[in-house]
């Protein structure tokens, strides 16, 4: 397939092309993806992976973790009233947020909130050292975000987005990496539903 467009630092980017893309995806609050998540513990060199389906709407998210041959492994739901984790037997565990539940059950900080913000290619507040890729969509230049740094309350993350492809009228990333001193999180999106 065609090589990925070259990476362009923020200073050189055509501001309109960057804004044009951010405005296009700003309205994307309802989306769902299916794909695969890989978690690498960089300190203990341990890793794990799981297939997932993720439906997202304002104030709501539903995730189903599965294995093609072992079936549904777990489900995770969060809405404005709180979060619930269902294990393989369907046993529920309750919490305030999905992120807290995952941390409690797997003692691992999966930054679900940050993931849900960055996966669409949106520029999160406080993102620095941004670099872009230029695409052409319907004859107009769009600059998609492909690398930047952003901090959450607990961690500093390097974010890398790649394999942008047109999905209906949007340019969506199909590969995402979040890298911190302790963790490397890879998310491969095999299907976008917008």
């Amino acid at each position: 397939c065609a090589a990925a467009p070259p990476e362009i630092p923020q200073s050189a980017i055509d501001r309109n092309a960057a804004e044009r893309h951010q405005q296009a995806i700003a309205s994307l609050t309802d989306w769902s993806i299916s794909g695969q998540l890989a978690l690498f513990n960089r300190v203990e060199d341990d890793r794990d992976a799981v297939y997932l389906e993720w439906q997202h709407a304002p104030g709501e998210m539903r995730l189903r973790f599965y294995h093609p041959l072992k079936g549904t492994l777990a489900r995770l739901e969060e809405d404005l009233t709180g979060a619930t984790f269902f294990d393989e037997e369907g046993q529920p565990y309750y919490g305030v947020t999905a992120e807290q539940l995952i941390a409690r059950i797997f003692n691992f900080q999966l930054p679900l909130q940050l993931l849900s913000e960055v996966i669409t290619g949106r520029r999160p507040d406080g993102a620095v050292q941004l670099s872009y890729q230029l695409h052409d969509l319907d004859g107009k230049p769009y600059a998609t975000l492909n690398r930047y740094l952003v901090a959450t309350t607990s961690e500093k993350w390097q974010v890398e987005l790649s394999n942008y492809q047109a999905e209906q009228s949007y340019l969506m990333p199909h590969q995402l990496e979040l890298i911190s001193p302790e963790w490397r999180i890879k998310l491969k999106v095999s299907q976008w539903k917008l």
Binding site: S34, A49, E53, R64, L69, K70, G71
Partner: protein, 186 residues
């Protein structure tokens, strides 16, 4: 049961089998959530090879004692005792008519379709449906009881042809981490 014996008898004449496969995962909402294509090969009673095509090149090889599973996305090869890995693929059950894993299932038959229901102690709680067309194994369906269905449909099935020994040998790709789980659960 009668049906279990009949299914084992149907598999008995197969010493080797090779086929192309399409594997589709249907989610609880009935949506196709994943589709893989590739090739598989069996040399009964204990050798199995399974590889999916790009862009998801997954490889699973059982060489009789050890099972290797390579996922390039995770950049890792998992190595496990074959006996302890029955849930890695339904074909591992079909490989060996005598394996103890058969005791985990109650079997019923309707024509060319065998329904395998796991009993309470079964390690995998997936029910299996094994379908034949005439005398050829044609389809395996896994149902996780929570709405996920996985259909594996075989085509170009060739049985009892010679298979190169190297088919069931696995080489660890350079740069891949190795997660050796053998001896983990004594």
């Amino acid at each position: 049961s009668e049906a279990k014996f009949e299914l084992q008898q149907r598999l008995a004449p197969v010493s080797t089998l090779q086929a192309d496969f399409v594997q589709q995962v249907i989610d609880p909402q009935g949506e196709l959530v994943q589709e893989l294509q590739g090739r598989l090969a069996m040399a009964r009673p204990n050798k199995f090879f399974w590889q999916s095509d790009a862009p998801n090149e997954l490889v699973l090889v059982a060489d009789g004692t050890t099972l290797y599973y390579f996922d390039p996305f995770v950049e890792q090869v998992t190595v496990a005792e074959q006996q302890a890995s029955a849930t890695q693929s339904p074909f591992l059950l079909l490989l060996d008519g005598e394996t103890t894993a058969w005791a985990d299932y109650e079997v019923e038959v309707e024509g060319n379709s065998y329904q395998l229901e796991p009993n309470a102690e079964a390690e995998s709680q997936q029910s299996l449906q094994i379908n034949f067309t005439d005398e050829t194994l044609n389809e395996v369906i896994l149902d996780d009881g929570q709405g996920q269905l996985t259909r594996i449909v075989l085509s170009n099935v060739k049985t009892n042809s010679a298979l190169a020994g190297a088919t069931f040998e696995f080489e660890i790709p350079p740069g891949a981490a190795v997660d050796d789980q053998r001896g983990d659960n004594e």
